[in-house]
Amino acid sequence: MGQPDGWDLLTEPRFVGLNNYTALFRDSLFQTSLRNTFLFVIMDAPLAVIIPLGPAMLVNEQLPGRTLFRSAFVTPLMISASSVGVLWQWFYNPAFGIINFYAQIVGLPGQHWLSEAGWATFAIVITTVWWTSGFNMVLYLAGLQNIPEHLYDAAKVDGAGALALFRNITLPGLRPTLLFVTVTTIIGTFRVFAQIIVMTNNSGGPFDSTRSLVMTCTRRAFTSSARAAPRLWRGCCS
């Protein structure tokens, strides 16, 4: 039946093979959190990897006010997770938040962003992308500056247009950076925790739809008894 093997952290641990893992995967809350986290990663990671590339290329040029633009993209990163969570929870408020306000001005129907099972994850994804774009943007900036200028010059002499330049010089030149950014973004997105518990008041969201893996981990660790300790430890290894 998969009874979780208890370990009170004080006596000697007992070797039980894979029992902890099987019990874990049978646990419905773990399954829910796994599903939620996967959904979150699938929605967030591509956006978080692709979106900052545009601004990075823009602020790479000698634009007037370039420092100001760079700061605009990176400043959200400087705000702590809890503050970001509180701010955006207010934005998403159906009555008092500016998102529904501007949506209705444009003619779109306002939503119950954080209290509807379908929208909650999407809303948190948008918040996370806004918050963390600056980090990847700085990495892209560094990567872009590593691409030798003479490659662009030679290609332009050969008559390459902007799209060709991007596809044949920028993208290949950014490959190591893209790899680093993609891997770290995916890893980081799996660890989503702080903004979710702030934005959903640690409730797991509508129908538990935003309960992430780390949330389940910490809740099991610090609220229930120590019997769950080995199980949730395994659960966090994802």
């Binding site: 950076t177 680093f180 949730l232």
Partner: protein, 295 residues
């Protein structure tokens, strides 16, 4: 000479230079995106300057009723009104933790990186591989084992528990080792011939040359300590050990939220990080380039 350049100037003169034509759309798009990104931050700052009763309105408004209603009240209140959470104390705690932690991290990592880059000893490369592999492990896995360790060490609910555990991160070691490798070893050889010991070489030659990488590491580390929420949330129970991110949550009650003070608290806590970024952004980019992300 003079006539040739004058002719060139005349024929190239136009009302709108080609450079302007090329840059204008990029500038506009960058402006649009920057405004989009900055809007929530602007809202945050606006809110922090409004009187509390005009913040949550239906419908939401950017400006208060009268321009004269803008006030610094919220900023004053967060530091003076007692609410079981001392924001000044939390700010100082954060500063202490981040400052001490950063110094510790830079010191430890520089020593480790130099050893891995320049010294030869059995198992050196294996050790380096292990350190790099440790970067794959997400912090959340270590939450519980670290909590148990801290509990057994009797460090729970203390600043020590906030400062020490993150020192064991391989990120800085990796970063600095790559950079130390790129410093020509001829410099160190020359110093050795002159009789310098290893520590002297590290201190007098290698470190001064690594200003960029060390600054980068220091900034990233400081930001990590400053904004860390998860670990601090778990470890800290009492108000006198709280750090800023945890303290700011306390401003939100279950049935009401003092948004004005929340926003001013958030802005105040973001300020050090923003200032550090503004100062160091060129350094960071140049430093990363020097360590060679390419390949």
């Amino acid at each position: 000479m003079a006539s040739a350049s004058m002719t060139a100037t005349w024929s190239n003169r136009s009302l709108v230079s080609p450079k302007l034509v090329r840059l204008a759309p990029r500038f506009l798009i960058a402006l649009l995106l920057a405004v989009l990104w900055a809007t929530p931050v602007l809202w945050m700052v606006m809110t922090s300057l409004k009187p509390e009763n005009q913040i949550v309105t239906l419908p939401p408004r950017w400006l208060p009723d009268h321009l004269s209603d803008f006030t610094l009240d919220n900023y004053i209140k967060i530091f003076t009104v007692p609410r079981g959470v001392d924001l000044i104390r939390s700010f100082l705690n954060s500063l202490l933790v981040a400052g001490t932690g950063t110094t510790l991290v830079v010191a430890v990592d520089a020593l480790a990186a130099y050893a891995l880059a320049r010294l030869r000893f059995p198992g050196r490369d294996a050790l380096f591989l292990i350190i790099v592999l440790s970067l794959i492990v997400p912090h959340e896995i270590l939450l519980i084992p670290n909590y148990i360790t801290v509990w057994r060490l009797d460090w729970l609910n203390s600043l020590t528990a906030l400062i020490v555990p993150p020192v064991a991160s391989g990120f800085g070691v990796f970063l600095l080792r790559q950079f130390f490798l790129s410093i020509p070893s001829e410099l160190e050889d020359a110093a050795r011939i002159d009789g310098c010991g290893r520590f002297r070489i590290l201190w007098a030659i290698v470190l001064p040359l690594s200003g960029g990488a060390i600054a980068t590491l220091a900034i990233f580390t400081f930001l990590y300590y400053w904004n860390d929420f998860t670990w601090s949330y778990i470890i800290v129970n009492s108000a006198d050990v709280m750090t800023l991110p945890v303290a700011l949550i306390q401003f939100r009650g279950d049935y009401f939220s003092e948004y004005g003070q929340l926003m001013s608290g958030a802005f105040v806590s973001a300020l050090p990080a923003i200032l550090i970024f503004l100062v160091a952004q060129r350094l960071i980019i140049r430093s990363i380039t020097l360590t060679g992300l390419k390949g």
